[in-house]
């Protein structure tokens, strides 16, 4: 069953090598992470952030400052129901649910300071979908499942004990310089 492993490991090595080449201009792991968004996974490297930011810069507007609106700046790659409209907050799951153990990541520009932030979108789990709350579907930098860390068409409660999808929070975990 695992006669694939050799070849796959070869492929992952190759990918890691490619990422390492891209890493050459940075000075350390932190900068590398912030710049390319790649994350070290068991010794291999998976790209988790797009570095092609050729699309336009968002103008600041009221909705971008309203965390109960799908236009709020942190939600630039959020696909789901807003936890802050379901008993939670921007970064807290509603009482009684569980935060997902794994998450996808977006890169969103804060219209106030003009900086790009890494946003971890954690699903909250083990309760029924909170479709009382607004459902947002934004996809800046979103990629299909072959870039899993950027993919939002999947249930990120997948690694939890109770996988029922409840809602999604948007947690600032880093700066993408």
């Amino acid at each position: 069953m695992f006669n694939l492993i050799d070849k796959l490991t070869g492929w992952m090595d190759k990918m890691a090598e490619g990422s390492a080449r891209r890493m050459a201009l940075s000075t350390g792991r932190r900068s590398f992470l912030a710049r390319t968004g790649a994350v070290i996974v068991g010794g291999a490297l998976l790209p988790v952030l797009p570095f092609d930011r050729t699309f336009g810069v968002l103008p600041a507007n009221a909705a971008e400052s309203d965390e109960f609106s799908c236009e709020y700046w942190r939600y630039c790659a959020l696909d789901g129901n807003l936890c802050n409209s379901c008993g939670g907050t921007l970064t807290q799951c509603p009482p009684g649910s569980e935060a997902s153990k794994v998450s996808w990541v977006g890169t969103c520009k804060n219209p106030v300071d003009g900086k790009d932030y890494l946003v971890s979108y954690n699903d909250c789990c083990g309760r029924s979908e909170c479709d009382n709350a607004p459902f947002c579907n934004t996809n800046q930098g979103e990629r299909p499942g072959y870039r899993m860390g950027l993919h939002n068409d999947i249930n990120w409660c997948m690694a939890n004990a109770s996988v029922g999808y409840h809602c999604t929070v948007a947690v600032l975990v880093g700066l993408a310089e």
Partner: protein
């Protein structure tokens, strides 16, 4: 190994984000809110027929959603008078809509929105639209009564603390559970127009029943199963708008008085909907959903107006136009709030004006899902 490392990748982002930035940025941490915000709540049971229903908890003042407690399908909700504990009876089929059915009594901690416990019920519980009379707490808070239908009617008596089933009381031809004041047991409405008073022993394990004299005519003018308690009396209303004031405290249920709500009103108005009335006790006012041009089959029509009826003066104090209210509940405060749900997913908040006969004025609206026909509130 691959699996573990990939899981670690996600966990890594959450656990060690500080490493990501070079400047003074302080990363946030994902967490779970421990408890709902304080303040009085409105509870709405969002029933589902092909999936998980939920008890939605809203702030009375803002209608802000405080969270959901998830149940199975085709269920009923029950909220303790102190607002700290809730129960739900619902169905969990092996394949959601087919396969063996496990009917479960869940106990919830409302503050934390957690499941405190669950107990398996005899697989007979009524799979019905939401009606508060189908899942009840005894007056002393020690027993849960579950309406069964196979379609033969019976009531499962369970321990409120553990959920354990204590007995099943046959109630053939009767429906609805109305806890008896001052003793353990319940009254139930019977198809011949009587009530049956079922007294349950202190340990919950035995019961005896006594039929009343005829109270209403189920053919000519049946009563809704929605009840309200006020000032020691138990109130029901009939399809044609007759208000029944009953005394449930004796060996059998006794009829104290009937009043015609629509006496002297033109337009063929009648009560309609599901949880169609609620009494604001301090005001002594009954709020009731009414529709005009009533006819055979209109008894579930949503409200075109909500009437405020003075129970002491026996007169309609005000009539407020509303949109599509199917169920309602009134608060117990001096100036009652009224919350109404529609079949299609809205929760309305109304303030009332005592100076204007407790007329309703719109004061908020939010979204509901499922079939949201049961409401409750605790101040």
């Amino acid at each position: 190994m691959l699996k573990l490392t990939h899981v670690a990748f996600g966990a890594f982002l959450v656990a060690a984000p500080a490493a990501l930035a070079e400047d003074a940025f302080t990363p946030e941490q994902v967490s779970v809110k421990e408890a709902i915000d304080p303040g009085p709540n409105v509870f709405v049971y969002q029933e589902e027929w092909k999936g998980a229903g939920s008890i939605a908890v809203f702030a009375q003042d803002s209608l802000k959603l405080k969270g959901l407690m998830s149940t199975g399908a085709m269920g009923q909700m029950l909220v303790a008078p102190d607002g700290k504990t809730a129960w739900a009876q619902s169905s969990f089929l092996k394949r959601i809509v087919y396969g063996p059915n496990e009917q479960v009594l869940q106990t919830f901690d409302i503050d934390k929105l957690t499941v405190k416990g669950e107990a398996i019920l005899p697989p007979k519980a009524a799979m019905a639209l939401g009606y508060s009379a189908l899942l009840r707490l005894s007056t002393d808070g020690k027993l849960i009564f579950v309406q069964n239908a196979t379609p033969a009617s019976s009531v499962t008596v369970a321990d409120a603390a553990t959920g354990a089933t204590l007995q099943e009381v046959p109630t053939p031809g009767c429906w609805g559970i109305y806890p008896l004041p001052g003793k353990s047991g319940f009254a139930t409405i019977c198809g011949d127009g009587t009530f049956s008073t079922v007294t349950v022993s202190a340990d919950g394990k035995t019961a005896s029943a006594e039929a009343s004299a005829p109270i209403f005519d189920p053919d000519a003018d049946p009563i809704f199963i929605e009840d309200e308690s006020y000032d020691g009396a138990l109130y029901f209303v009939s399809y044609k708008g007759v208000l029944y004031k009953l005394d449930p405290s004796g060996k059998t249920v006794a009829k104290l008085e009937t009043t015609e709500l629509t006496a002297g009103v033109e337009g063929g108005w009648a009560p309609g909907g599901y949880q169609l009335m609620s009494i604001a006790p301090k005001a002594g006012v009954l709020f009731i959903q009414m529709h005009p041009d009533a006819k055979d089959g209109s008894h579930k029509f949503v409200a075109k107006e909500i009437w405020a009826y003075d129970l002491k003066a026996k007169k309609v104090l005000s009539r407020s136009k509303v949109e599509d209210v199917a169920s309602l509940v009134a608060s117990k405060s001096d100036t009652p709030l009224v919350f109404g749900s529609t079949e299609v997913g809205k929760l309305f908040r109304f303030e009332t004006d005592p100076a204007a006969g407790y007329a309703l004025k719109s004061a908020g609206e939010t979204a509901l899902t499922g079939f949201p026909l049961t409401l409750d509130l605790v101040e």
